[in-house]
Symmetry: C2
Subunit: 73 residues, 2 copies
């Protein structure tokens, strides 16, 4: 997601568009990216951290969060 | 996220780039969008559904999931 101090014109465009579909009560929208990775057991948490910080995120303007999901057999 | 049957060239580019930073064991990457909305109590689940389905998602090629987060006072 864009860092809090970074302007997010795409999110602001969504806020303005909400009126058109008659939805009120949304004070802010931020748009970011989401990546879903399929990894095997050999991939460590440190490696995932490296992938997120060097390849998937522009850490100057974006923050990231790594979330684990289900184990596929 | 892009639907499963939709090609995701951005995700595939990430898969190819993983070798460059020495990470193996990632078999697939899919890139999608994430929106964070700040809403007040007046916004119903049906309205959020409408926002997601009509404004935030191109339902021809993308799926969406709505996840609740913390309550700010």
């Amino acid at each position: 997601m864009p860092k809090e101090e970074i302007l997010d014109p795409q999110g602001q465009a969504v806020v303005r568009a909400l009126g058109r579909i008659g939805v009120e009560g949304v004070s802010d929208v931020r748009q970011g990216k989401r990546f879903e990775l399929e990894v095997d057991d050999s991939v460590t948490a440190e490696e995932l951290e490296k992938v997120a910080a060097t390849l998937l995120t522009n850490t100057v303007i974006e923050d990231y969060e790594i979330v684990g999901a289900e184990v596929k057999k």
